[in-house]
């Protein structure tokens, strides 16, 4: 699409004016999203839900860079919200799509993002029901920011943090740290970006297969391991349960090249953000069954137990090294690594 204003095929301020250029841009968006977009251009989407209980969530996405080796901000925007719905046990159905575009963004880059949104939404089985587009002046945003809100329905008992109890096994669905290393490597050209790829993926299929296979009660709670990494998730659960959570250092699934990169960068993989990894709190009697179910899915092939919720009172997280020594896993005070999602 070439803008009549600039003739350069770039986003211009008038694309967000609500006037003719806005309509042209919206047509392009709708056309590119194709059959995953079911909006009717009313001020609100009007939807029927096949359940009386729904889950809702929202997330904003400012990832830098917006395009990376095996994904982009569009893929992350769908996966992030789909995964937030799936981890509480809901079936994701609908997403909204809000976009903030910087003047000068090439239209073909926007189309790339929209295409990625379409393909990821198709994989996740969700529909885009409404959207919004705003355009800001050059320098007021960095190319493109997205927001997605999501609605899912409960066809099973919701999973809650409060249901975690001592003895629960802590299971990870896959390696940690890869998304962070991939993005940092692209930002600075560190040489790891071809070897370490982002794990960004919609995990609702994995979790649906798991819950179907193991039945209710086997998995007490699930959380996606995003900003703050595994450490943040474990601290949240330790605080909520009032019990110490202990993980085994040797059991943590970290790709060799990711170990190299995190060692070089002075960061710890347990603090690194991920976009396609969930942490599950599993009834000990169902541990092997859960692992087998996870490993039968392509997004859970490397699932592994990394620790357990102990009987010990005290909301701390401990890491046991190969010599059996425990050390406290500190929670980061702030984000050392901004804009990873």
């Amino acid at each position: 699409m070439t803008s009549p204003v600039t003739g350069s095929g770039e986003v211009v301020l008038d694309h967000g004016s609500g006037a003719q250029l806005s309509h042209e841009l919206i047509s392009l968006i709708v056309e590119t999203l194709g059959d995953v977009y079911i909006g009717e251009m009313e001020d609100s989407a009007m939807l029927s839900l096949p359940a009386s209980r729904i889950a809702m969530t929202t997330d904003s996405f400012v990832v830098d860079p917006p395009f990376f080796g095996n994904g982009d901000i569009g893929k992350i925007a769908v996966c992030g919200t789909v995964n937030d719905l799936a981890v509480v046990g809901a079936r994701p159905l609908y997403l909204t799509l809000g976009m903030i575009l910087e003047t000068g963004l090439p239209i073909d880059r926007l189309v790339r993002v929209l295409t990625s949104i379409r393909e990821t939404a198709r994989e996740a089985g969700v529909l885009i029901v409404c959207g919004d587009t705003k355009v800001v002046r050059k320098g007021e945003a960095d190319q493109i920011y997205l927001n997605t809100a999501g609605v899912g329905v409960f066809e099973r008992t919701p999973l809650r943090m409060r249901d975690v109890r001592p003895g629960d096994r802590v299971v990870l669905s896959g390696p940690i740290g890869n998304h962070t290393v991939h993005l940092l490597s692209i930002r600075e050209g560190l040489g790891f970006e071809q070897r370490v790829l982002s794990d960004c993926a919609p995990l609702n299929g994995l979790l649906d297969d798991l819950f179907t296979a193991v039945g209710e009660g086997a998995v007490h709670s699930v959380r996606d391991v995003t900003r703050g990494g595994l450490a943040a998730v474990l601290h949240e659960y330790a605080a909520s349960s009032g019990h110490t959570i202990r993980i085994e250092q040797a059991a943590l699934p970290v790709q060799f090249e990711t170990v190299m990169a995190t060692d070089m960068l002075g960061i710890n993989a347990i603090h690194a953000a991920n976009e396609g990894c969930v942490c599950l709190f599993v009834d000990p009697s169902a541990e092997q069954e859960v692992l087998a179910a996870l490993r039968s899915h392509r997004y859970g092939a490397d699932a592994v137990t990394v620790g357990e919720v102990t009987e010990d009172a005290g909301a701390v997280v401990l890491m046991r090294d190969a010599d059996g020594r425990d050390s406290v896993v500190e929670e980061l005070q702030g984000s050392e690594l901004p804009r990873l999602c």
Binding site: D142, R187, G189, L190, F256
Partner: protein, 196 residues
């Protein structure tokens, strides 16, 4: 057996003289560094200079305090320092830390039949480290002459050399490297165990 090439990183005024510490470290290293390059050339090994050029639209580029973009293409500060250049050397522009990141370096080395690279220059803990790691991932036999890498802070250099030796490269000083070349006619590849 493939050919051996020397890769230098960022031997440019804007990098070398960015801080007094770097200038001083480079002054100390320069005599044996240039002697190493001369001897490698004399033995028939090519020298590739990786020239860091900052692109104006790169949001991650570190600007000077006054907002000036250092290392601009064609600028004096971006030129490879004359003391390190010789006839026949190859200059390859790069825009990020690793000399392989979206550059023609890998293709040129492959065309030349190079399978072993000796990674030198500054800073050890950034461009040398990332270029060496990238070379390792691309299948090169990687050596790092410990007396031909420079950092403003010697602790950064030592930590980077330890990392390189631990993960992906053979670290030895230039005298040892020439001794190995004399004794074996080449530089043996370090066996690195990649964990599953």
């Amino acid at each position: 057996m493939g050919k051996i090439a020397v890769l230098t990183n960022d031997l440019q005024a804007d990098v070398v003289h960015k801080t007094p510490e770097r200038t001083s470290a480079m002054a100390e290293a320069q005599p044996h560094f240039t002697a190493f390059l001369d001897e490698m050339r004399r033995r028939g090994h090519a020298v590739y200079h990786l020239q860091l050029v900052n692109l104006p639209d790169d949001p991650n580029v570190e600007r000077d305090l006054d907002g000036t973009l250092p290392l601009q293409r064609g600028s004096e500060g971006a030129a490879i320092l004359a003391d390190f250049l010789a006839e026949g050397d190859v200059v390859v522009e790069k825009n990020k830390d690793s000399g392989f990141y979206e550059t023609e370096l890998h293709d040129r080395l492959q065309e030349a039949g190079v399978d072993t690279v000796l990674v030198t220059g500054l800073q050890t803990q950034i461009c040398v480290q990332t270029t060496a790691a990238d070379a390792f991932f691309r299948g090169y036999n990687v050596w790092v002459p410990s007396d031909c890498v420079v950092s403003g802070n010697p602790e950064d250099r030592d930590r980077a050399l330890e990392w390189l030796g631990g993960y992906c490269a053979t670290v030895a000083d230039s005298k040892e490297i020439f001794a190995v070349l004399d004794a074996e006619g080449g530089l043996p590849r370090k066996v690195v165990k990649i964990l599953p």
